[in-house]
Structure formats: C-alpha cells, structure tokens
Symmetry: C2
C-alpha cells in the first residue's frame, strides 16, 4: 500500500471512525484502524464489539495512489500524527507488509502495523430495502428522546430507543420508567415491512454526532440483530438490544383536568433555581402549584433551607394543581422542545404530567409525579 | 443585617472569595462565606486552612443598607443562588440571627445560616512596609515559573516558588529538581528588608486567576509564616512553606559550547509530534541532534514505532550536539516565553540545557538532560 493523501480529508475520516475505538477493548487488533486502499479510494474501518464505523474517501481529487493494499494501524497514534502534521499532503507507505511509514517533507513516522488477516470479518452488507429518513428528522428524534433512556444496565432494553415502523409512520419511544419521550414522524415512503426494534441510545447519540448537517437522507438497513446506517460515504453499524420493549401506548392519558401554557426558558430557569438547595442534584424533588394565574415552584431541605419561585401562567380553566416531580426530569423534558412555549397537561396529583409543544404534536414528553405525603 | 445589593457586583465578590472554599474541609463553618455589613459596605470572607480571601464591596452606588450585621452563609448555595437570579438587585436579610432570607420579586430563598461567633479569628492585618509589584509583572512571574514547581508533597519546599528580595531586585525560582524556572525583575522601589520566602505555587496561580488586568500595583505584606496580597479591594492571604529552598545559584552554567536560535512555536510543534508515540506522556524522552544547519528531534518506542522530525536552525558556531530530555519539560519551558524566538545553550550532553529569550534576559529556563546510554 502506498499513497499520498490530503491531510484534512484523512484526518476527518480517521476522526469519524475513531469513535468506534474503545480504550477498554480486550481484542488488541480492535485498537487499530483498518486501511483498505483500492484504485477507487481509501476505506477506513474501526470497530469495538458494539459498533462498527466505516468511511470511504474517494480517490478523485483527494489522493495519489501508487500501490493498492491493506494494513491495520494503531488507532490512537495515527489519529494524533495526522492531526498534528502541518503539511497539506501526507504520504503513507507499507513496507514489508507490517511496517508503516508516514512522512511529509520534515516528518517521518515508522509505526508497527498489524496484518490485515488478523482483523475480524465484519459484515457490512446493505439490505435490499432500506428505510429512508431525512437527516434533520433523524437528529431531532435522537436529540429529543435519547436523554430519557436508562443508563442502568440491569434492564438492558431501557437503555435503548424503541423504533416502531408501520407503513409510513415511525414511532420512537424512550423511557427509564420514570419518564417517557415519544416522537412520532411520518416518513416520505410507505415501508413494506413492519419493524419493532430497540437501538442502544448511546450509539445513536454517537452516530448523529459524527454526521454533518446536510439535507441528505439517512438509510436504515435493519437486520435481525443489528442496524446499519448509511449516510453519504459513511457506514455506522450498531447491535440491536434483545428483549421486548415495554408497551407505552396506555401510559399517555387522553384527558386532562388542567392545561397550562408556559414559556420554556422561564419555567426552566425557575425550576433550575428551585433545585439549587440540594446535595443530590439527580433526585431533587420540587413541587409545582398553581393559584389563579400564578405558578409556584417550591422546594425544601431540612439542613439547607427552602425556596419559593413564582411566575405567571396561562391556564385553560379555573382548576388548580399541586404536584411534585424530580426537577432534573422536568428540566430535561422542557429542554427537548425546539420551540419557545410548551403546554403542560395535568390529570391528577399522582398521574403522569404530559408536555407538548403548542402547534406541533410530534413530540410528547411524560414525567411521572412523586408522592410527597 | 439587611441590604439590597446589585446582583452582578455581589456575584463577582462571591466568586472571588469562593476560591478559598474547600470541598474537603473538615471544619463545617469554613464551608461558609462570612458576610460583614457596615455602613461603609459589605465584606465577604472565605478561608480553608491554606488560604484566606477577603473582598470589600463599597456601599456607594452598589447597595442600600438598612441594618448592619454579620452572618455566615453556606458558600456553594449562596453562590449558585446569586448567579442564577435574573434580577438586577437582590435583597438579603438575616432573621432571628440565624435565618437568611434572599429574595427578589419572584424568588425567595430561606437558608440556614451559621452564627458569626463560630467563625475562626483570621488575622488579615497589613504590614507597615509592603513591597509593591506591578500587576503585569507579578502575573508574568507566576505564569513563567509556577509550572516548574513540584506537585509531590514529599519535598514540600519544592511545591512553592522561592521569592528573594534584595534591594530593588526580586529573584524568583521554581524547580522540581528536573528543571528550573528563574525570573529576575527590578522593582520600582528599594526594599529595606531582605526576604527569602517560599510561597505555595498553587496559591499563587489561584491568586492571579481572580485578579483583573488593570495596571494597579499588588502589595505584598510579608510576615514570618504567611504572606498577604492586597490588590484593589481584595485581600489574599497564603501560608508560606517552611524549610530552606535549595540554592540554585550554581546550577546555571556561565559558558556554552553551542547556542542555537529557534522559533518557539516551530520547535514546540516538532517536539509535540515527536512525543506522540508514547504510552506515558509525562515521561516521554526525545533526542535533539544538530547536523550543520538542521535540527533533528527523534524518539522511539519498541512497541509503537519511531519518529524523526527536522527543522532548520541558526547556530552560533560549527559545533554539534546530541542530547536527550523529557519532551514535556522542554515544551513547558518553551511555552513560558512570551516572545517568538528563544536561544538554547548547550554546555555538554549531560549538562543542563538553558533557554533564554533573545533580547530579554529576565527569564531563564533550565531543563536537565536524560542519559540515554
């Protein structure tokens, strides 16, 4: 293998695939990035046991290819080298099948490589009938729901986002059993097959982090126990989580006895201040109470003190509510809406609290109340 | 105690003194910030056993004082409250000597306070004859020398910067026994007494971090076992480190057999790249070698590989040198110079390497070589 390649392009590719390198990987070869050079261009692949990322850099305009070939290079070093070289072009050459020479005019790195035969066979075949989702909508789904997933591995299925596809409808649910985020979108196509899969949330978050903001579609290639996302020249494969996702259909109340409309950033700040007085930010409980057209948020801690915040609120009737919840859950739910205003529905003091944006009902956030008496 | 105070001014004061709050403090009252309100203004004090910070906010234009008094408020909560309140003015009131009410139009915090009598007596008296140093020069001293101090508490005296004042000359030394940073400046005054003290480096770094960039002088009030810095309305007191600082006068060679002049950022980048191939960034050894008008930096690791970098260099004669050192020490020494070019003097392969800026000899950096054979 021998080539001369544009530094910025290579650095960008290495940076993307390096997200699949795990520092705690037990298989040494998986600490490496696989380089495959053909006359068409350079393919970079990295994988841990959870995700695989592959990107293709087309030859045209990006590189001069002298000899095709493959090699595995230690991931963390090659990334650092390429990033820190000041030159516009970088030469990479494999010598004696196992030595890698990376050089520019004033710099020369000799690295020990790993033979390509040691790399595990990873199947990145595409399916025949992918599902297409716009980049923008896919990112919104992940940004608005992933935070509600559990990080507790004792119920693995809750550490993922449940994707259900029926016809042109995609419904995504994410819950840690204390709150639920639901996003329903309509696809631009009727999907023949129905799907009900759970994708690890952290992998989805990683995936949307490495893709750009262009308007191209993302292809979802769904298999039995894995999903492969194709976006431009990038392939991102994740395992699926086994197990039955809890049925969340009946969780959302259909009626309410009081709806309030509030500015998201105002209510967020009020709850944020009300949750200062705690030694445990994760589980701080605040109480929301309405009185006429005012909304009060209160919290207290015997050792530290108590706090009371008020703000004005628009109600849909004269009823009032007093209800307690975990401040962090409500703040994360509020923050998930891209809009400025949210409508909060109450069914009762011990019934789920429902948040929806005014004028866009694709996203629903549910926060369970806490009994305080 | 009862007052109404400008939020931004109070937040700034609390932020400064809070740097003396230690999370691992064993004395509960020291987790608090002491508020002392007189007709002249508000004094805020915080202390751990190492440093004490006090700032005074003059009444005029900043506050309305209704009742004078004192109270101790839990530091981390009051800082968060004041920072997060959106209002321009904040009301603070002590009720029944121990309850603190912090309120604005829509927010009300009730905090448990601590009686002022429980706060330890801290002597912040000024000396009669302070030493004056310009803010700019003082910051330069700390920025250019503190990094060379030791973080190893087994030789406490090396965790500080040695300040020696004789007449109008201030000499500062900082060493961890592998490298030495020396800054010599001339004061605008003849100091009557001679001083030879060691100030903890981390306290000096903390101090320059909380003071602004104005051109006012810093007053150094030096006592037997402590030093008090006065700057504007701020008092910052640190303990001194006991023990005799090693004599560094004879460490700096007076002659050299080769001097090279290099661009600081070029050499920094070259060493930075040469030190990529290591699993231990702290102790990575690189070798510098000159050949005619070229400078080579080399490094190798049996498992990872080897690297060779070259750059052009200006030499004062035809001699050549081959010398090894810890990459991190040389990079930190290079980075300490505010200028673009540095002159590096070599006495021999196992003799100290000396760095000086071209045209400004106030700062000297010394890096010890490493024997590699």
């Amino acid at each position: 293998m021998k080539l001369k390649i544009k530094k910025e392009i290579l650095a960008e590719g290495l940076n993307k695939v390096s997200k699949a390198l795990s520092s705690k990987n037990l298989v040494p070869v998986l600490a490496g990035i696989k380089f495959d050079l053909t006359k068409d261009g350079l393919t970079l692949t990295a994988s841990d046991n959870d995700i695989t990322i592959q990107t293709f850099i087309p030859a045209l305009g990006n590189m001069d290819i002298e000899t095709e070939g493959s090699i595995i290079i230690q991931g963390k070093y090659v990334l650092d080298i390429v990033r820190k070289l000041p030159d516009e072009f970088i030469n990479i050459e494999v010598i004696d099948d196992l030595k890698i020479l990376i050089y520019t005019e004033n710099s020369e790195f000799n690295l020990n490589g790993i033979n390509k035969s040691e790399y595990p066979a990873i199947n990145l075949d595409l399916s025949k009938k992918p599902v297409y989702i716009s980049n923008e909508i896919f990112k919104a789904i992940v940004n608005e729901t992933a935070f509600a997933s559990s990080t507790d591995e004792s119920r693995p299925v809750l550490t993922g986002i449940n994707f259900k596809i029926n016809g042109a409808q995609l419904e995504c649910n994410s819950t840690d059993s204390y709150r639920l985020a639901r996003k329903i979108v309509t696809l631009n196509q009727e999907v023949e097959e129905s799907y009900n899969i759970v994708i690890p949330s952290k992998n989805l978050v990683e995936f949307i982090r490495i893709i750009d903001d262009s308007e191209e579609n993302i292809e979802l290639h769904i298999f039995n126990n894995k999903i492969l996302f194709k976006y431009q020249n990038l392939l991102f494969q994740s395992r699926l989580i086994n197990g039955t996702y809890p049925n969340t259909a009946n969780l959302l109340p259909t009626e309410s006895f009081l709806k309030i409309t509030v500015g998201i950033s105002d209510l967020y700040s009020v709850i944020d201040r009300a949750s200062i007085l705690t030694s445990d930010k994760e589980k701080n409980v605040v109480t929301l109470e309405t009185k006429e057209n005012l909304l009060y948020i209160k919290s207290s801690s015997a050792e530290i003190g108590r706090v009371e915040e008020k703000m004005s609120v628009v109600k849909d009737n004269d009823e009032n509510i007093k209800i307690s919840f975990v401040a962090k859950y409500m703040m994360e739910a509020l923050r998930s809406f891209p809009q400025n205003e949210v409508e909060i529905s109450f069914v009762g003091e011990i019934k789920p609290i429902i948040l929806k944006s005014v004028g866009d009902d694709s996203l629903t956030q549910l926060v369970l109340p806490i009994r305080t008496y």
